[in-house]
Symmetry: C2
Subunit: 343 residues, 2 copies
């Protein structure tokens, strides 16, 4: 089953069930008005949602109910969520980015997942602009795979945690690279360096991913491009140190997780340099290592980012977030000391 | 105006307007079913809520509508929220706790607020148990003042940010001290070390706090006690390095904040040792500094914590969260390697 959220009229949009080929959709207000409402009562509502999906697939719904799915009308599957727990399960990315900061990869990280509490109060839709006040912040993408859970009990086992994965989606964990070193040096983790993330328009139940979902991981090449130029296509199922069961269990070790929790696995990254990267920070690190200097810049206002997951035949299985950066000058002048710490 | 949330039937409970003396309340389902719904549309709904408050205060509502407010029936004002941005504005606490970790207080922190992204997907009500699987985690309270905002634009000025403070409440930022050093050493901030926080039953509009709310700070002694024994009563308006305007502007520097964002100011702490502390970590640090060794333990299962704000006459102006710790063994055995890292 594939689900999406159309924008408006309220903050949480309207839940729609999407056809397998992603081209048609149907609203389901009598089952659940929003995806959060569906997740709040998933066990009770899932059968009716699946029935609607089956009727849509089989052409049993009339043309008055079925409409073309326009990604530009899509919000993030959860336009606002109660939690975003973002792991960093691809240790190749962690090692490279740390090397760029002059830091080592501690051995404990092979057994103990890195995870931060991310901003969940707003997620960008797949065609929404990424609003940043200053290019000098070092705007970067991070192409990720993320899952959405139902209610997860505290101290759940990694194995039981996997059963709480209800939906899988893609995510662009927008990062402001030049704010991060100063922020992390303060010791409390990310805040200003990780503004709102953007999501793929469609979230898919694990069963609908077929063989691409196995061992608690999504398998497939995650292709990122900027202004039509490919940045990389690493394999998401490869070199993922912790599956989603481990990541969820880590997040839930000392507290339950509410339904609608989004758990990310971090920037997808493979050791094979031929597959490229899922973020510009990695590209710059590799340039620094190889040539002593980073020559690739960060994103500029007007750049367009596209992230998509391909199946074995090269077909899109998760439609990408298509995004561009733009500036906003509003209230900027009220904050005269808005420099770039550590920049 | 004073607001509270009664538990059930849904996850977000039912919004009630509370009388000034905190003893009576009235449900307001036709104005806003939940506090989040009120905050989502605050400007439009606030007049009707204030009218209900005025009618309650003046005895114009019938006995069929008005009922005694029982804190045991109260959930947190927002039982789940989209964001919890917790600052650490009392630098005396920061300096003491850092000293306990063998770390210094960097001078930048005088100008640049410390803030972390906290768990917002669930807040405990004032009488709810704090569920922790293991006393060895080093269970601690942190008595704080927090505010709830409406929608805050990105890059808001500190001055404009103050206008977005809609409600003020108290919060117990439960901390698992023995998990924190290992977690912070990983560089991504708090996660397992900061489980669900507990909130006071009532949230109050700044105007209803009178002179106690000024210069973007709540003034009054914040009294914490454990099993009836006072731990401290530091003055919340004193030595708060950053007012709530600065804290909100810090959180909103690179992104807007959604309505219902909770912003905390961190553990209240004064330099005067005579006023005591708002957390056990401080007590232990002071013991270590004075006698070379911490003798006070952390919270034990069954302990009861009470946090309250007193007005100048010693009367409660914000009813406390009254809490106790309990254990839960559920699924504990599925996670055999749940040791205490860095413990």
């Amino acid at each position: 089953m594939k689900l999406a959220t159309l924008k408006g009229p309220g903050r949480d949009g309207r839940l729609v069930v999407v056809r397998g080929d992603l081209r048609r959709a149907v609203e389901v207000p009598r089952i659940a008005p929003t995806l959060q409402a569906a997740l709040d009562d998933w066990e009770a509502l899932e059968p009716a949602l699946r029935q609607a999906a089956a009727r849509l697939e089989e052409g049993e719904l009339g043309p008055e109910d079925v409409f073309p799915l326009d990604p530009a009308q899509c919000a993030a599957p959860l336009p606002r969520a109660y939690q975003f727990a973002d792991g960093s399960a691809y240790l190749n990315h962690v090692a490279l980015v740390r090397r760029a900061r002059g830091a080592e990869l501690p051995e404990e990280l092979l057994d103990d997942p890195l995870m931060y509490q991310g901003a969940a109060d707003g997620f960008l839709g797949p065609s929404d602009p990424i609003e940043v006040t200053d290019e000098a912040f070092g705007i970067d993408l991070e192409a990720e795979v993320a899952v959405i859970t139902d209610d997860v009990p505290m101290a759940v086992s990694p194995q039981a945690a996997l059963g709480h994965v209800k939906l899988v989606m893609l995510l662009n964990d927008v990062s402001l690279r030049r704010l991060i070193p100063g922020e992390l040096a303060k010791g409390f983790g990310f805040f200003q360096g990780k503004p709102r993330s953007a999501c793929s328009p469609v979230a898919i139940t694990p069963d609908a991913l077929g063989d691409a979902w196995r061992e608690g991981k999504l398998h497939g090449a995650l292709r990122s491009s900027i202004n039509g130029q490919e940045l990389g296509r690493p394999e998401a199922g490869l070199e993922m140190q912790f599956d989603f069961g481990r990541l969820i269990a880590h997040a839930a070790r000392t507290r339950p997780l509410a339904a609608g929790t989004i758990v990310g696995a971090g920037t997808v990254s493979n050791q094979d340099p031929a597959v490229g990267s899922s973020c510009l920070a990695e590209v710059r690190t590799i340039e620094t290592i190889e040539r002593g200097k980073a020559t690739t810049g960060f994103l500029k206002f007007g750049d367009r980012v596209r992230i998509e997951m391909l199946d074995a035949a090269g077909h899109t299985i998760l439609v990408s977030p298509l995004m561009y950066c733009m500036t906003t000058g509003e209230e900027r002048s009220f904050w005269p000391d808005m420099g770039v710490p550590g920049g």
